[in-house]
Each structure stands twice: as C-alpha cells, then as structure tokens.
Symmetry: C2
Subunit: 426 residues, 2 copies
Amino acid sequence: MMWSNVKNKELQERARAVIPNGMYGHEAAHFITDDHPQFFARAQGGHIWDVDGNEYIDLMCAFGPNLLGYSHPEVDKAAIDQIRLGDTMTGPGAVMVELAERLTSMISHADWAMFCKNGTDATTMAVTTARAHTGKKKILLASGVYHGAAPWCVPFKGGILAEQRAHQIYYQYNDVESLEAAVREADGDIAGVFATPFLHEAFANQELVNPEYARRCRQICDETNALLVVDEVRTGFRLGRDSSWEEVQVRPDLSCWGKVLANGHAISALLGADAAKQAASEIFVTGSFWFSAAPMAAAMKTLELISTTKYLEDTIRVGKLLREGLAEQSARHDFELVQSGPVQMPQFLFAGDADFRIGNAWTSAALKKGAYIHPWHNMFICGAHTEDDAAGILEATEFAFRWVKKNWSSLSPNMNLMKMLASAKA
Amino acid sequence: MMWSNVKNKELQERARAVIPNGMYGHEAAHFITDDHPQFFARAQGGHIWDVDGNEYIDLMCAFGPNLLGYSHPEVDKAAIDQIRLGDTMTGPGAVMVELAERLTSMISHADWAMFCKNGTDATTMAVTTARAHTGKKKILLASGVYHGAAPWCVPFKGGILAEQRAHQIYYQYNDVESLEAAVREADGDIAGVFATPFLHEAFANQELVNPEYARRCRQICDETNALLVVDEVRTGFRLGRDSSWEEVQVRPDLSCWGKVLANGHAISALLGADAAKQAASEIFVTGSFWFSAAPMAAAMKTLELISTTKYLEDTIRVGKLLREGLAEQSARHDFELVQSGPVQMPQFLFAGDADFRIGNAWTSAALKKGAYIHPWHNMFICGAHTEDDAAGILEATEFAFRWVKKNWSSLSPNMNLMKMLASAKA
C-alpha cells in the first residue's frame, strides 16, 4: 500500500480549530517533521497504525509507556476486569496495598510507595518531600535535564515566573566539579539532589552515568541529610528490574516512576526509603484519579511480567541488532550517525546536524517505508519487538540513507522546531 | 448481614507498612471517621461495596467522578473498545479532535480545549496561560478555596515554600469589596482572577454565587485584560450542561474541568476562549498519559449521555427528596442540621459542631445502616441514584439521629483530623 497522509492532514486542520497550535506537549507532531503522523488508529505489540492506515514498526513506544507490547492481552485483561468491578471509587481497592507491597519488594531502596498520575506529579512530590524532610530549601538539579512540565521544571518558560523556580541550583550532569560548586552555592541549605539514571535529553547525544558522580550525589546527601532523588520516569524497568543505580551501587532516598508502570495505563509513583517516610506523611498531595483501581490492577500484572519474562533481555537483543545494522549502513553510506544511550533506549543523531535537517529527512524517508523513528528524541524498544522488526527498521533506513544522499541539496530544517528551540533559549 | 470491618482494618494495617500514613490525599479514611472504610471491592450505579462486603448507598460518588452511575455499561464499553484498539500510543487518536469539538460545541465560552489528567493540571495550566496572555504576574484567588494540590494551591503547607505561592492575592469569595481591595493591592499587575461556580469548601457551609460578585470578576478582567478562570473541576455538568456561570450570564476566558468528564476514567481539561488561544499555544504542558485515547472515548460517550438523558434532573429530584427528608428528621429529633449547596451537591454540617464530633457520630451510625455520608466534605448525587436510594439514606439517618441522641455524652472528635486542621492553620 502506498503511504499517504490525507486523513491525518484533515484531522490536523480540524485540530488547529479547537486545540491551541493543533497539538501541544511531547506528542505534537509539528515539532517532529512534516510527515510524522499526528493521529493513530490502532496499536498492537511493537506496531502502530496511523489514521490513514499506514503501519509502522514503532520505535517511540508512546514515548515510553509501551514496555511489553501495545494492547498486551494479560495487562489489558487485568485493567478491564477491574473496570468492570470498580475503577474510580470513593476509596482505593485492596490492589493499592498489594501494588505498594509488590513495588517495595522489587525495588531495593524502596520501603513505601505513593501513587499518582503523571511523572510530573511524582517529581513534584519528591521536591516537596525533600523540603519537608530537611526544613531546607535548595534543590540541586542537572542543567537541561527533563523532570516534567510543572512550572518548577518545565523546559520552556512561557507564562512561568522566576519565583516558581526559586531555590533551584543547577549543575552539569556527570560533572563532579560542577556538583561541588552547586553544593558550595547552596551554602548548607540543601533539601535534595535530583538525578536521572543516565543523561537522556532530547536534541543531544545520551551519556551513561559516571559512577563517581552518582556516588558523590549520595555522599552529599549523606553529609547534609538531604534526600537523593533519582528520576526513573523514563528509565524505569528499561535498564533493569530494580532501581537503575543499583548497578553503580548507589541507592536513592526517593525515586520517581511512571510511563511503563502499567504498560500504558495511567499511573505513576513516588517510592521512598523509610528515612523519608515521616516527611512524606507530612505533605498533602492528591488527585481525582490517583486512587483508581484499574491502572493499579494493570500495574500488578505488568510487574508480574517484568519479574517472570525475558522482556528485558529481548529488548537488549533487538536493540543490539539495530545498533549493529545501523552502524554498518551509516558507514557504508558515508554518514556519521551517532548512536548513543543503552541499545534498548537509543538516540540517533547525525554529527554536525545542528538544525536536524539530515535527521528530519532520514526519519521522514524511513517513515514512508514503515519505520517510525524520531529525529531528536530518544526511542524505546519494547518486549514485543522481534528480530524481524529490527530487520524491517533496517530495510527502511537503508532506503532512507539512499534517499537523503540523493536529495541532499533540498534538505531543510523544521521551522516549527527551530522557533520552539529559539524560544527556549530566550 | 452485620456490618463488619475486619478485612478493612487488616488492609489498613498492611497499608501503614508501605504507604506513608497508610493513605494520603482526599480519600484518606483516617481523616473521616474510625468507621469509614478505606478500601472498596466493587461499585455499581449509586452503590458501593467495601472489602468486608458491606454495601452502601454512596453519596460521595468517588468525590465527584461518578456522574452517571459507577460501572456505566455504555461509558465503560467505549473505554474498553478503545483500550483494545489502542490507548496510550505514540500520538493521540482522532477521538481527541472529536472530543475537543464536542466540548467546545457544548460549553458556550469555549473555543478550544487542552486535555490533561488531574484537575490540578488544568488549574495550573490556567495560571500559566493567564501569565503568558498578559505578561503580568498576580493571580487573584478566593481565600480557602480549593484549586488542587500543587505547591501554588495546596491547602496544607508541608514542604511548600512562600516563593512557590508568590504573586497570589487572596479575596473573600462572594465579597465584592474584598475583591476590589485585591485589585488595588495588585496595582495594575493582574494576570488572572480565579473563582469557583459556588463556594463548596470542606468543613464549612456552602454558599451559592452572588451574581454581583461574578459580574465584577468579569468586569475586572475586561478592564485589565486579565483572564477570568472558573474552576469547574467539582461542579462541571452537576449544575447544568454548560459552564456554570451561564446562569448568572458571566462567561469566563478559561474554565477547568475534571472529575466527571469521562464518568470516572482519568481525564481533565482546560477550556478557553479564542482570546486566550495564542497564550495557550505559548505554554509548554504535557504528561505521559495526557493523549491516551481510552478516557477520551469514555468522555465522548459521557458527554453524549449528558446531552441526551435526564441525568441532571434526576439528581436534582433525588437531592430534593433527601433535603426535605433530612430537614424533617433533624427538626423532629431536635438537631440543627445545616444543609447547604445545591441539592445535588449537598453539604451536611451540624450547627455549632466545631470539632465535627456530632457529624462524625451521625455519619458513622448511618454508615452501619448502609449509607455512606461524609461528615465534612460536600457530597454528590449521581444519575443512578433513585427515590429508593433517597429512602434508604433516610432510613439510615433516622437510625443515626436516634443513635447520636442516645450516645450524646460519649461523642468525641477525630484526633487525626484535628491534628491535620491544626497543621493547616500553622
């Protein structure tokens, strides 16, 4: 079937009439390329179908939530069975306790759990808990690292006041020296230190964690009684089956989880160590749907499958095939494609492609051959992706490398994106 | 069957081990009474069953989300059908555009919609949009009015900094003079004015809106180019089928919706007028599950039923029966029960019951006879509640009035609640 986007364009036109900009947030397709579809009709396993009926091998996995495969029969059955019994009720179901027990038994540093809806809910709760715990104000954050879209952390400043970001000190990720400088700047007033398990920012190559930096984060918190917060919203259960910094033997006081917890059903969580439990009991946080039982039932099943299946090893195996195949293709076609991050959470950027025009053209071309690849955001392999899917992606990218070479002189940047990035710097 | 709470107590004990305080937020039962169950097993129509198998006629309706009846077959079918096609995908479904079109066609002031997960998401987006629209800072808010649980609006201050609430000026709800004073204090720097459709705060009698106050809110915004924000998270589609202030002929620039939008499936929304669309396109807001299709499909069906059924008239009819019956009972038993707010969103408080000991005892007694009533939070009648349910509640409250009279000397306040209220004042 020929790729087409007639219905998608019609829907985008209608959307512009009733949604500001036609779309907002991380899934706004006008910031990706002109060809990336905005609207999807169906998702199954590791594949997705847009509203024009085009099928893609989907490397975005809903920007993370799809861990075990879309429309997972067991996870969805758990959610649907619970919807039929009772979802959002006047109180939680017993499943909330079971879920907290299961998470705290899986995650070494965690003694307790609080559930919420957005990753941002969990990171914001972590800030408040850290301040309640210490009675201090300053939060140390790695510069440019995404922790959500609340005023205190949103990367774009429209409508945000300086006061809403007061008492936040920024250091460079992985850079112990800049971390020390932030500690000196805080002058004894540290409530918490935030980190992500590795550096996985948009528009940039990813960087694995420097163990010395991770250890120093822990030490600073030990020395000052501040809380170490590791934001696992993007990484959780994609690098391992425990908290990601177990690998470097650093245990946080608080960790923030979301996206994959219920394989796409809406739930996020703040997990904490006993030392932070009293403070967590002194903050007030809530939401209309935070206690809903269906996503918790889906999370129970997801966590069971995380523990009992080889989903993780599968994502690594498929990710490796893809990395090797792309390295071979880019070398053969004379492109400097930089593949960074863990193989199961890859970022593909072309060296020197400052305005992403090569990446845009390459991902647009691959798209038309059935591979959904993002030009500037990290991607995710899910447990349903197969070796055939890796081969399918590589077939599409082989076409894309040739296409870009042939059309080199006509490549151009995405002006919507350029405008957004300029506003972020302003 | 005898009322019992053995399983509930066991679960509460387990919960205390893995959840701070055993529970948090608005559904923490230890802030209601010792008898109110924390955990529920099932919900159907206007009834709810706790984990011990006790059945209740439920006047909380999940603190709002249950509008048409729990486990509504048509709404849940829409959600489940969409889950099977695709829920959280790499982009939204066409249903997102359809939902924005439907909401803007139903709500007179609204020209556009943005969807999110929590009521707090929508109110926070309104603050940011108002500041982006005006380039000004100050937000005028009615004192003590709940707009969510983010640092800028949360009613309890644990872990919150003064800076996070900077540029917020408080006035008294319904009081034009105090509103004028707030305007003077803002000294030309007004970004937005917040209001709820009526005063529906916990621990206090409810108050319907003074039309003069509503009109003055509008005028101030017209004179200063600020945005008028009406927070409909609790009231939406419970007072009418349009924005609640249509009744007093005042149209907001922005309105915040949640709770009932999908009859319990997790979705909230910010709706806005064209004048605010440019500003809304300049803010960055997002969440992992904000674009999920299943709650949007459930919302489409909910809105259809809102438009085509007599659910609203039914809630008013049942609410009236309850109000009349309780007035008769309380007079006959010599209690001064103050029933405030619209009949379909009633608040029941005993006059002079400063520490809620009468309310606690009365609702605990009614609970054991199968009526779930809240001692200090407003309640909700849903479209599935019947005249029989009203009669069932009244049977339980008849018992409760007698019980309280007989046990008058042994009544005592809930110390968990007293401690929480003291901390809020501190």
